[in-house]
Structures are given as structure tokens and as C-alpha cells.
């Protein structure tokens, strides 16, 4: 379905943010960089998708979201053991140190502070692809 530009492994790229316009712009930018991301505005929907996904994903998730926040989402995915090599990149609007520690502790590999640059997110994704 999706492939990174310089990768042999088949992975999905999933974007989660409650801000629909942000998602739209981010997806557009990532498509221009050769990715084919899947967008979700609610973490629940992403979990639903992941439960039937055939392969592991790289997930870029916002931390502060209503209903289910990024931490809870990462925990839920880990708990359900959905593809052990799923990787996480966490985004936050206003990251406190504690938030960053927590994101890393919960298993996100990269932590980016909003507002992000396209180049930063592209590099981050390529780093762990």
C-alpha cells in the first residue's frame, strides 16, 4: 500500500491529529516527499485500522487530543501487541519536559514540537523507516 522512498520493508505511514486541516496539509507535504500516509482525526479509528492491518506501521501521533490522548493511544497499541515493530513519532503543541520524558518512556522514538517543519518530519520518518 505504501512505501518509503528508500526502504525495502513494507510499512504503513499513519498520521493522527484531531486538527483536520493540519492533517490535510501534513499529508500533502508528505505525499510530495514520496510517502502515502493514512490520516485519522481520532485515535480510536486508528486503532480500529491497526487491528486489521497486515503489516507494521510508522505512526505519527499528536499527544494532546480529546477523548484519547497520544499516550493512551501508544499504550493501547502496545498492549494489544499490534505488530511489534510498529514505531511511533510523537507530536505536541506545547511539550513540557515531563511530556517528552513520558512520550519517550511510553515508547515513542522521536518527539517533535509543533509547529514542525516539513523537513524535520520527513527526516524523522526516514530515520526510523
Amino acid at each position: 500500500m505504501t512505501s518509503g522512498t528508500d526502504s525495502e520493508v513494507q510499512m504503513d505511514l499513519i498520521l493522527i491529529d484531531d486538527e483536520a486541516e493540519f492533517l490535510e496539509e501534513l499529508a500533502e507535504a508528505l505525499k510530495e516527499s514520496g510517502f502515502n500516509p493514512l490520516n485519522f482525526t481520532r485515535a480510536h479509528d486508528a486503532i480500529e485500522y491497526l487491528e486489521q492491518a497486515a503489516r507494521p506501521s510508522i505512526i505519527v501521533t499528536d499527544i494532546r487530543m480529546p477523548y484519547m490522548d497520544g499516550f493512551a493511544f501508544i499504550d493501547a497499541v502496545k498492549e494489544k501487541l499490534l505488530h511489534s515493530d510498529t514505531r511511533f513519532i510523537a507530536l505536541t503543541g506545547h511539550g513540557t519536559q515531563a511530556d517528552e520524558h513520558r512520550a519517550i518512556a511510553s515508547g515513542a522514538e522521536i518527539f517533535l514540537r509543533k509547529p514542525i517543519s516539513i523537513i524535520d518530519i520527513v527526516n524523522a520518518i526516514r530515520d526510523i523507516w
Binding site: D18, E19, A20, E21, F22, E25, L26, E28, A29, E32, T41, R64, P66, F71, A72, D75, T92, G93, H94, T96, A98, H101, R102, A105, K114, P115, I116, S117, I118
Partner: protein
């Protein structure tokens, strides 16, 4: 016909004198019993006021400490080293009344406090105030320990403890705030009760935490006493009997703290109560007037027989009466900020130590006017009145008791006795604390604001980058103009957030003025009417209430009602998405007078507030609306405004949807 013999006259005289004397003794005895009853009643009432005050003060203290610990808890997580924990604890600014803030790990091992870190490992896991958290008995609640004597300082402290848990409910730390007992007893002392009785803070676990008044002795377990069974069985009540502390008979009142498992007991020495016939004169002088008139005739007769003893004993009784009256007024004079008032066909202030007579007269007029409301069903009650006079804020608590011992048919007798306690100073202190906490939450607001502003900024940044990339790669104008339109829309959103913030922080410069609550309702609904018509939502303003004057700022109340209408509309629209667009939306606003309050209610049929949302309803930046639609400031802003108006706002669910209730203190038009 014979004149009676001299011996017969003497005999009749003696008989008459004898009967009168018995009569006086009987009357006096009956009167004394009535007096005793009234004095005890006054003591109960007084204790009720005091216990309510103290319970309120304690609640406030405990919740401030609890909130402090909770917010501090966010600073710690399990990946920190002991040294990091120590430096964090040291960097926290700690309220003055907490002499030590310690952090203990999940096994009960002391890690660090703001004073010291653990050079040696101290195991505290056997302490009850740590144990309750380890064992999970006290989930996330505040636990208040038995009094502990400091090893070095020798100061007695209570340990306020709370668990810090992760999202899965696993214990990470226990935070311990040590508060010296004097911090609590200082308040007792300020009420000047301890010289005449005992003030005690009793845990519902049966252990007395703090006591003031008798010998300093803390931590007594009174679980097995009759008293404790009484305290644990009811939320409040009268307290009477022999004290377990010193075998003194006491009269008083106990009241549970609203939010914590503690009760406050105020118990006066019976000797003090009975020796200060607080209401002596009231029961005595008027009814005795008749008696003394009768006596005068009798005495005149008796004088014929030459009985001077009778008259001298009457004089003694009157002298005793006035002496006792002096003692009463003296007793009140020793209690600062109090007054004793009699209300009959006219009001008499028996004694007062309230400096501000203007506010006292204002209060008395208010009490006289409303007295049937205060004591309509019962013989006594405790009430609070707050008002603003000449720009200053006043709060009085008072106990009103229907006058006992008289049948109420006589117009010239006082009907009520009122004991008044001036709380204006502490009310102003509370308001200062409120504004301080408002300042403290500014930090939280700043964090939230940064996040809120960052959201549109993120959209703008990427949209701008996409636009640039599009131009460089030769995409059409349409692409760039879509991006620019999106960027513009996001700046509008940012402006809206900032605009909301401006109102949020505002303290109106203009002085509070009386205005019609109905006008504010009509003003707000007028602003929304055409918009709601377009949205297909019916708006009903159901009759204006009368009288409806409240004190404050009309534009602010309009803002609150506007927010509530908008919330109602948003939830109706949310429901339409689920139920179909033909769902008929309805918002109605009612206004009514509930005794001293104007009550405004905003009802919608949007389905109500989900249970998990309710606790966060008034929290800044919490919103359930889609991103970009709600700032999450409407309700916290409304909460702040209503609080500034000395009112309350709360939410509940009705049959069809949410009901928001605003209660504002009514002002009389003459004010």
C-alpha cells in the same frame, strides 16, 4: 361588731407574707429553669456557628493543600533519579504553612524532602499515612495523619499525604506535606473559643487530630466513646455530656467537614454557660415587671405588718438581675466581631463588638425584613449574608433562635434572639486566596494558551511551506490561493482565542452596579436570536422575573448567558449529526426568584453532558468540540465571572439535555 384583734392582724399578715414568699420562690424557680434553658440554647447555637465556621476553614485548608500536592505530583515520574527528585523538590515553591514537603517511593522509602535528601535510606512503610497509599486504601484522596512530633523541631505536625499514580493506577510516589498543628489551632484561637471550652478536630477513624482549649494532648483515640458513636452517626448535631478529656459536663455542637473525613466539635463548659445567663434580661425583666407591680401592692400590705425583709429580698433579686445583665454584655465585649440582637416590635442591640456600625445596621435591617424566611420551620437556624456596602464586601454568619419561654402572644416581648459573627475580614482573606489561586492557575493557562495558539500556527506553517513548494514546482494559482485562504482562516481562529483570553483576565474597572438580570438575559438572547433562527433552533425566554436586580456588571453576565446559549446550540447541532437534521432544537431560558437569589437557567435539548466530561466542564481549554470550533474557555470564563458576582454556576442533566443554573444574590431596589 368587733374590730379584729391585733393578734389576728399579725397572724393574717404572717400568713400572707408566707404565701407570697412561697409564690416568689416558685416563680423564681420556674424563671431560673427557663433561663437555664435559654442559656444552654444560646450555647448550642453559638457552638453551631463556631463549628460550621471551623469546618469550613478546615475544608478550605485541606483542599488547598490537597490541590497543591496534586499539582506538585505532576513534576515527578518514575524515571527520575533520587538526586533529580531532590533537586525538583527543592525547586518547588512551597506554601508557608507547609514546613516540609517529602517524597516517598512506592515501597515507602523516603527519597527526599525540600529540606534533605536521603543519605541513608529511611523506611517509612510502617507509617499509617504511607501505608494507606501503598495498600491502595486511600486511592487518590488526601489522607491526614495522626499528629506526629518532629524528631528535631519538637513541633507537632499533621502529615497530609496523597498518592501519585500513573494512568494505570499504579502507585509511583507518596507526597507528604507536614503542616504544624498551630496552623490549625491559630484559627481556633482567633475565634477566642478555647478559654470557654474545647475545640477539637476528630477524624472519623476515631482519632482526635487537633485540640485546643484544654491541656495539649493529641492523637487520643476516642473510637469507643459514646460521643464518637454520636459523631460518626450524623453529619452534624448537638453535643452534650461529660467530656472524656476532663470529666467536665459540656454543651456544644459537632459538624462534619464537607470534603474530608473529619468532624469539628465545639463544646463549652457547662459551668461557663450556666454562669453567664446570656439572655438573662430577656426572660426576666418584662415578666418580672408584672410581678414586681404585684409585689408592690403586696409589699405595701406587708409593710403594714412591718415586714421589711420581703422588700429587701426583692431589691436583691433586681440587683442580681442587673449584675447578670452586665456580665452578659461583658462576655460579648470579650468576643471581638460579635453582636447580640433582640428582635421584637423593635430591635435592640444588647451588646456588640463589631466596629462597623453602618454595615451592622444594614445587616440588622436585612434580618428584620427576612426573619420569617430564616426561621420558618424551625426554632433556630444559622444563616449567612453577604453584601457589598460602600464598595467593601461584608459577610456575616448568624444564629437566630425563636425566643423560648414565652408563649408569643405578648406583643411587647422580643420574638427572636440573634447572635451575629462578623466574617467580613476572613471573607476578604478568602477572596485574596481566590485571586492568588487565579494567579497560580495563570501558569496553567499559559501552558494551555501556548498549545491553543500552536495548533493554528502548525497549520499555518505547513500550509505556507506547501504553498511555497507549490509555487516553486509551478503549481497553479488555485493551489496557492487555497493555502492563503486557509492561513487567513487560522489567523481568525487565533484572534478569537486571544480575544477570549482578554475577557478572561479582565477585572472590570467600572464599579459594580445594580442591573436587571432579565435585561441581561434579553440582551444576550437578542444577540443570538437571528443566528439561532438560521440554525433552526427555537429560543424561548420564559418570562422575566421580578424583582430581578443583581449587583455587578451587566456585560459580563450577558457574556455568560451568550456562552451558555452557544454551548446549547453546539450540543444540539452535535445531536443532529447523530439523529438527523430534522431534529427540532430548543433552548429555553428561565428566571425565577429563590429567596435571596435570582436564579437563571438555560435548558437545551442537546442530549446532556456525558458523565466523563462533567468533572472537566469548567477546566480551561477543555473542549469536546471539533478542533478549531471551541476555545475551551467559555465555561471557565463564565465560572470566573459568576464567582466574581458572588454567585454560583453549575450544570446538570435534565430529560432532554443540559441545564445550566446560575444563582446570583439579589439586591433590593432600595440598596
Amino acid at each position: 361588731m368587733k374590730f379584729p384583734r391585733r393578734t389576728t392582724v399579725v397572724f393574717m399578715g404572717i400568713l400572707f407574707w408566707f404565701l407570697i414568699t412561697i409564690g416568689i420562690f416558685v416563680n423564681s424557680h420556674v424563671n431560673m429553669n427557663k433561663l437555664k434553658e435559654s442559656s444552654i440554647e444560646a450555647a448550642f447555637l453559638n457552638a453551631e456557628v463556631a463549628a460550621s465556621l471551623i469546618a469550613q476553614n478546615f475544608n478550605q485548608k485541606a483542599s488547598l493543600i490537597s490541590t497543591f500536592i496534586q499539582s506538585v505530583g505532576k513534576e515527578f515520574h518514575s524515571n527520575l533519579s533520587d538526586a533529580e527528585i531532590f533537586s525538583r523538590v527543592r525547586s518547588i515553591s512551597i506554601p508557608e504553612n507547609i514546613i516540609q514537603l517529602s517524597i516517598v517511593d512506592r515501597y515507602g522509602r523516603f527519597i527526599a524532602s525540600n529540606i534533605s535528601n536521603s543519605s541513608e535510606s529511611i523506611d517509612l512503610s510502617d507509617r499509617q499515612h504511607i501505608r494507606v497509599h501503598i495498600d491502595g486504601i486511600s486511592k487518590n484522596d488526601l489522607f491526614i495523619s495522626q499528629p506526629v512530633r518532629g524528631r528535631v523541631s519538637g513541633v507537632y505536625t499533621l502529615q497530609f499525604t496523597r498518592s501519585i499514580r500513573d494512568d494505570g493506577g499504579r502507585l509511583l510516589f507518596v507526597l507528604v506535606a507536614s503542616v504544624p498543628i498551630s496552623d490549625i489551632t491559630n484559627f481556633y484561637d482567633s475565634l477566642k473559643l478555647s478559654s470557654i471550652g474545647i475545640v477539637s478536630l476528630v477524624g472519623l477513624d476515631g482519632v482526635e487530630r487537633v485540640r485546643s482549649g484544654k491541656q495539649e494532648q493529641f492523637g487520643l483515640n476516642i473510637k469507643d466513646t459514646q460521643k464518637f458513636r454520636m459523631i460518626s452517626a450524623a453529619n452534624f448535631g448537638r453535643y452534650e455530656g461529660i467530656s472524656y478529656v476532663d470529666n467536665t459536663y459540656r454543651f456544644g455542637f459537632f459538624k462534619r467537614a464537607d470534603n474530608q473525613p473529619f468532624a469539628v466539635v465545639v463544646a463549652y463548659d457547662s459551668q461557663y454557660v450556666l454562669s453567664n445567663y446570656l439572655i438573662f434580661k430577656i426572660g426576666r425583666n418584662k415578666s418580672d415587671l408584672l410581678l414586681s407591680l404585684l409585689l408592690f401592692i403586696v409589699v405595701a400590705l406587708a409593710m403594714l405588718i412591718g415586714s421589711l425583709a420581703l422588700r429587701s429580698s426583692e431589691e436583691a433579686a433586681l440587683r442580681r438581675a442587673s449584675e447578670t445583665e452586665a456580665r452578659v454584655t461583658e462576655a460579648i465585649r470579650q468576643l471581638p466581631g460579635t453582636a447580640l440582637l433582640l428582635i421584637g416590635h423593635e430591635s435592640v442591640v444588647l451588646a456588640d463588638t463589631i466596629g462597623d456600625h453602618e454595615s451592622l445596621s444594614y445587616l440588622i435591617a436585612m434580618i428584620e425584613k427576612n426573619i420569617p424566611n430564616y426561621v420558618s420551620y424551625k426554632d433556630s437556624s444559622v444563616a449567612t449574608e453577604r453584601f457589598i456596602l460602600n464598595g467593601a464586601e461584608y459577610e456575616y454568619i448568624f444564629g437566630i433562635s425563636r425566643f423560648r419561654g414565652e408563649d408569643g402572644r405578648r406583643e411587647d416581648l422580643p420574638k427572636f434572639i440573634v447572635f451575629i459573627l462578623d466574617r467580613s475580614e476572613s471573607r476578604r482573606d478568602e477572596m485574596r486566596i481566590y485571586f492568588l489561586s487565579k494567579l497560580a492557575s495563570l501558569g496553567e493557562i499559559a501552558t494551555g494558551l501556548a498549545h491553543e495558539i500552536n495548533q493554528p500556527l502548525s497549520v499555518i506553517k505547513i500550509a505556507a511551506q506547501n504553498a511555497l513548494a507549490g509555487i516553486r514546482s509551478g503549481k497553479d494559482k488555485q493551489h496557492a490561493s487555497e493555502k492563503l485562504a486557509r492561513i487567513e482562516a487560522q489567523t481568525v481562529r487565533m484572534a478569537k482565542i486571544i480575544d477570549h483570553m482578554r475577557i478572561f483576565g479582565r477585572r472590570s474597572d467600572a464599579e459594580a452596579a445594580p442591573f436587571s438580570a432579565s435585561d441581561a438575559v434579553l440582551g444576550a438572547s437578542g444577540m443570538m436570536a437571528s443566528q439561532l433562527r438560521l440554525d433552526g433552533i427555537a429560543l424561548n425566554v420564559l418570562r422575566a422575573c421580578e424583582p430581578d436586580l443583581v449587583l455587578g456588571w451587566r456585560d459580563q453576565i450577558e457574556q455568560v448567558i451568550l456562552n451558555l446559549i452557544q454551548n446549547g446550540r453546539d450540543s444540539i447541532q452535535g445531536r443532529r449529526v447523530r439523529l438527523g437534521s430534522d431534529f427540532e432544537g430548543r433552548i429555553s431560558i428561565t428566571c425565577r426568584v429563590d429567596f435571596a437569589f435570582i436564579v437563571i437557567e438555560v435548558h437545551d435539548n442537546g442530549g446532556g453532558i456525558p458523565a466523563d466530561v462533567r468533572p472537566k466542564l469548567f477546566q480551561p481549554f477543555f473542549t469536546t468540540k471539533p478542533a478549531g470550533q471551541g476555545t475551551g474557555l467559555g465555561l471557565p470564563l463564565s465560572f470566573g465571572i459568576i464567582r466574581d458576582h458572588n454567585g454560583t454556576i453549575d450544570a446538570r442533566n435534565g430529560k432532554a439535555g443540559a441545564i445550566f443554573t446560575i444563582r446570583l444574590p439579589a439586591v433590593t431596589s432600595s440598596a
